[in-house]
Amino acid sequence: MNTNESNESSGWLLTAVSCGGLLVIGAAWLVTPAGANGAAVTSARQVTILADQVTSAVVSTEPSKPAKGTGNFTGIVTLGGAALDLKPKVKKGDLTAKDAAVCAMDDVPDESLVVDKSTKGIANVFVYLDKAPAGKKYDTPKEPAVFDQKGCRFLPHGLIARVNQPVLVKSQDNIAHNTHTNPIRNTGFNQAIKPVESIGIKLLYDKPERLPVKVVCDLHTWMTAYHLVLDHPFGAMTNAKGEFEIKDLPPGKYEFIIWQESIGYVDRKFAVEITADKVTDKKIAVPAAKFAK
């Protein structure tokens, strides 16, 4: 053992925190469950499922057919109740806005809850599997994803990137932005993007993330977007009408995460059973009360 040991230890023992901490550790251990074996857990539903059966009526565009032997999961996420009236984050022509010449060229909408007037569908909701189906590996798409900025707004507002698929950060604005993320697993990114960056700066996520990563620009406080990073293709974001489609799932039982930026989980474990050569369609309504501040 180290020779410094004896003469040094007494000094620092005194400064320390009480032994209570250690006792707590012991106690907490006892309540750690010792292997609740294989019991299937059914999560309580947080949303109202209006129709549980396979229907494709809501999807206005004809759903595509799944590849042979696989199934598709489609659906619509709607707001159950009146939509909130959200003011634009920057009003067109507001000269007091920061960098108004560029940022107030147009309204910058508040995209924290985007609801389609006719379908009541909520846009930009992520529907995805946390992990790839057991034992499966999927190739990284060759094409990079493009993440652009225009009028001091990120485009798109939500993006699904695959692990190791480059995301090219571009800008059409004639001022600098910075693209700043704080992911849980991946290295954080906080990079200045020069005006009119047309080639794109490479942002690479080399690990999957369980939840969408928030992206901000510190130079323009209102700018936000979300990146979801998956190591498989089974994730989708709802379109402007609130619809989503996840293609070619191997048949089986799944639990999807449904996540929306203002409320977080819409559902942690949305159970879906996929059958070969079929489309499974779900309607998911989120009560408006959930969005009340």
């Binding site: 230890s9 023992l13 925190v17 309540v31 309580a44 203002s262």
Partner: protein, 397 residues
């Protein structure tokens, strides 16, 4: 890139206990976020930490946590002893920046547990090299209470650095475990909300959590350990060291001082649309840019919450003023290359972004460095009054 096999051999056996003798004993404290977990979730985190890192008296070396802490297990014990003597009263037993004297200090001592360090020579987003940590401990951080330990022998400095890395890895690991459990719905507040607001059954929630802890948690913990280890290994990789691609630009061949032209370019860049240093540091470099008056959202909050105070914040949640560049005091070192690296990679854990390789060329960064280094010597700052008219009246000195 995992490094396990090669390095595991370096790891000593579990280091045996240090005589404990008199109470009260030093103990690692839980992160605030850990204490906000449900009982079983918190227990799982505590168990993992104890298993992989032990206690301050009984350090568990890396054989259970896959990365190199340098030399032998004894080095870590030496590092700990030195840390307890020199650093603990500010940085705390757990490296949480919350030692007994911390509450009197501003800025607060660094909380190592985020795994982020501000003043590094590595590329954007990356952890510090060993050299960076050693340099900081050696030089101290001017303008803060972080003292210089220049008188310690190199071997002791090295041992302390290893212990800081170890504490940081422990803390970051804890936070990652907590994030995993919070993601699974293990936060006590979250559970109460689901039970009271959404009408879910508490039993069902706890059962789901117990099931997760029993089945998947071990694997998630291994992934988290690997991520932390990877990031420390990456920091020491040579390709991640920032080396300017050209020697300091804009110097007069005869005097060796920055030329007027370079200072002009620096000034123009400083106020330019493409660098926007001014938005934070202010037109005259006083640290009073427009962004210091804004209110900011707290990162990682869903739904979004705002900080109570206006102004830029660092990732520890402290208000962080952009440096007043007219004072000539630089926390991360005052050599031109230090400032080059600050601008190239940004200041990690803060809102100051990385400019290198994206917005600015290496040459442009040098002009900015020249300009910044001149600012404290500019007697009156005409630029402060006329930001739109870049003017560098004197060449400093």
């Amino acid at each position: 890139m995992r490094i396990r096999p090669a390095l595991v051999t370096l790891a000593a056996v579990v280091l045996t206990a240090v005589g404990c003798g008199q109470a009260p004993e030093a103990a690692f404290v839980l992160h605030q976020k850990t204490s906000e977990l449900s009982d079983a979730s918190r227990g799982a985190v505590e168990k993992e930490l104890l298993n992989k890192f032990g206690t301050p008296h009984q350090l568990v070396a890396w054989q259970k946590f896959p990365f190199d802490y340098g030399a032998s297990g004894e080095n870590l014990v030496t590092g700990r002893n030195l840390y307890m003597r020199h650093c603990l009263h500010c940085h705390g037993v757990s490296g949480d920046g919350n030692g007994p004297t911390a509450r009197f200090l501003n800025p607060q001592p660094r909380d190592y547990r985020l795994g982020k360090f501000k003043f590094t020579s590595t590329k954007s987003g990356l952890k510090p090299r060993r050299d960076d940590l050693r340099e900081i401990v050696k030089q101290g951080i001017p303008g803060t209470t972080m003292p210089s330990f220049v008188l310690l022998p190199e071997s002791e400095l090295n041992a302390i650095v290893e212990y800081v890395r170890w504490l940081s890895a422990r803390g970051e690991y804890e936070q990652k475990l907590v994030a995993t459990l919070v993601g699974e719905g293990g936060g006590e507040k979250d559970i109460s909300r689901r039970v009271n607001k959404d009408g879910e059954s508490r039993e069902a929630i706890l059962k789901g959590l117990a099931d997760f802890i029993a089945k998947d948690f071990v694997e998630e913990a291994a992934i988290a350990a690997g991520d932390v280890a990877d990031s420390w290994v990456a920091a020491d990789a040579d390709e991640n060291l920032i080396l300017p691609s050209i020697a300091r630009a804009g110097l007069d061949a005869k005097t060796g001082l920055p030329t007027d032209e370079s200072l002009h370019k620096g000034r123009e860049l400083y106020v330019s649309k493409k660098a926007k240093c001014m938005d934070c540091h202010g037109p005259g470099g006083l640290g009073d840019g427009v962004l210091t008056e804004q209110f900011w959202k707290i990162p990682g909050t869903t739904p979004e919450q705002e900080y109570a105070e206006p102004g830029l914040h660092d990732d520890w949640g402290n208000v962080q003023k952009p440096r007043n560049l007219t004072k000539g005091q630089y926390r991360g070192g005052r050599r031109p290359v230090d400032l080059f690296r600050r601008v190239y990679a940004g200041i990690k854990g803060t809102q100051m972004p990385a400019f290198g390789g994206t917005a600015l060329t290496d040459e442009e960064i040098w002009h900015l460095v020249n300009y910044v280094l001149m600012l404290p010597h500019q007697k009156t700052s005409p630029a402060a009054k006329h930001p739109e008219k870049p003017s560098v009246a004197s060449t400093g000195g």
